[in-house]
């Protein structure tokens, strides 16, 4: 987006403006299109002619675009308006348009990829081109994904309460799928989760926000300038963003105080314990194991059990870690990598080197593969003497 426009302000207004158009009778799909047009117009016009009231400007331009489109395609649009028209909420009926938009864009009828794309466009105010670049697909493909998603949810009533858990899954996906191109998806996921947390008291929303902040704070230390991965134990902790860590811990503590534990809070608690250690050696692995126990109890997830085995290996020694690993399915992602690590710590570099090489073949991405190949190479070099 161009310089000279307060992008954060502009994008934060998008859900509100869509909500206003909807209450004036525009269907979701048409309202979203009109607001996206207004956004593009704002980026063009605002640098030279900033509006006094950005929200009113966006509503006026979007509404004009909506009417133009409706006139250009009268019969189809008329049906849409009639079908989707809902009475304005009565006095005292507090409807949060933005919150409703989160639920709509994460509707269970959508596939995860569609929900992610629709959320980034309608709630996040990103353009189709930006979303396409971020996910490395052609713009036409992303445009189709978004318009199909809009058709899928076109029959959903706007003011039905949704399930926060589905929204959290979508935001987690946006955060965790990494980042590429000119859009920082992790940063965007944090912005959207923060905005959601301001609108709901749900402790897992806070848990997810804390989890994101605590991981994002380590980002500068996680890769070397050449793109290679730095394991947690080897990270330069002075590069961690202490302000972001403090915020994450604060958000987490408030959530935990409500005493309704969920998986995101438990994961955030693990991240907080890592953040709390000034050196890798100071890490409180005993407490981390306890949080993994909670996580396994809450989710039964094999991935949580695998991570727990690593933590047990640190807390009670590699033998205990290998014992914790023994019962797990060896086809689990990263199982070989974890086994390699524990065998090395257990003083068996031959097995560790073989497992690292095996893990490299199974690695789900290039930086991990390169990292595991280097680990195998390091051990084999030591073994050659």
């Amino acid at each position: 987006m161009d310089r000279g426009v307060d992008e954060a302000l502009l994008r934060a207004l998008i859900p509100t403006v869509i909500g206003i158009l909807r209450r004036r009778g525009a269907g979701f799909a048409a309202a979203e299109d009109a607001v996206q047009d207004a956004l593009v117009e704002a980026v063009r016009v605002w640098p030279d002619d900033p509006p006094r009231d950005p929200r009113a400007w966006l509503v006026a331009v979007a509404w004009r675009r909506f009417l133009d489109a409706a006139r250009a395609d009268t019969s189809r649009r008329r049906r849409e308006v009639l079908v989707d028209d809902e009475p304005a909420p009565g006095p005292g009926e507090a409807v949060d348009d933005t919150l409703q938009l989160y639920f709509l864009c994460a509707h269970p009828s959508l596939s995860p990829a569609s929900a992610v794309a629709l959320t980034l466009r309608a709630v996040g105010g990103l353009t189709t081109r930006q979303i396409a670049r971020a996910y490395l697909v052609p713009e036409a493909t992303m445009a189709q994904r978004i318009s199909r998603a809009k058709r899928t949810v076109s029959g959903v009533r706007f003011n039905q309460p949704g399930d926060v858990a589905t929204v959290l899954r979508v935001l987690y996906l946006v955060f965790n799928e990494g980042y590429s191109g000119d859009v920082d998806l992790a940063g965007e996921a944090i912005r959207l989760t923060r905005q959601l947390a301001a609108r709901t008291e749900h402790e897992e929303v806070a848990g997810l926000l804390a989890l994101m902040l605590l991981h994002h704070a380590r980002r500068p230390a996680r890769t070397r300038p050449d793109g290679s991965l730095v394991p947690l134990a080897e990270q330069d902790r002075s590069l961690w963003d202490t302000r972001m860590i403090a915020e994450g811990v604060d958000v987490l503590q408030t959530a935990l105080a409500r005493d309704r534990l969920g998986e995101f809070q438990a994961q955030a608690a693990v991240a907080a314990l890592h953040a709390d250690a000034r050196t890798a050696e100071e890490t409180d692995w005993v407490q981390i194991v306890e949080w993994y126990d909670e996580l396994v109890r809450l989710t039964g997830s094999p991935v949580a059990r695998l991570n727990r085995a690593v933590a047990v290996g640190e807390a009670d020694g590699p033998r205990a870690g290998l014992a914790a690993l023994a019962g797990l399915d060896p086809t689990l992602p990263r199982h070989a990598a974890v086994a390699a690590y524990l065998h090395e710590r257990d003083g068996d570099p031959v097995t560790a080197a073989r497992l690292y090489a095996e893990a490299a073949l199974l690695a789900p991405n290039l930086p991990e593969r390169d990292h595991l190949t280097r680990q195998a190479a390091r051990l084999n070099e030591e073994l050659r003497g």
């Binding site: 050449d226 793109g227 073949l361 390169d370 280097r374 190479a377 084999n380 070099e381």
Partner: protein
Amino acid sequence: MAKYLLLKHYRGAPAAVNDVPMDRWTPEEVSAHIQYMQDFATRLEGTGEFVDGQALSPEGTFVRYDGEGRPPVTDGPFAETKDLIAGWMVIDVESYERALQLAGELSAAPGAGGKPIHEWLEVRPFLAAPPTITE
């Protein structure tokens, strides 16, 4: 300009001159190799010749249609499969000679002992759209 696929094989190509598995290199040699590949792609971006580059996981599955209303049949991975693609780079260059030249440079990526791997890469021209003027 014409597009070419530079294809790297896990198996199926003739053996490289410097044919040592990567986990038998030193970590520094692994890093030097990765750096060479990154620099190569960056340089081709700079000359306006880079289109795409991807690495593939070695695990693959064969799939085929099994008739109306039936799920596809899957088979493999086959350990004995002769040909296994490791990854590719797509370049858009002025001539076939230029494509060969670049493939040669890519094949010179350093391996064990810091010496060029001399690995065999396959160069395949794209079948492009038909030209407007044909006579």
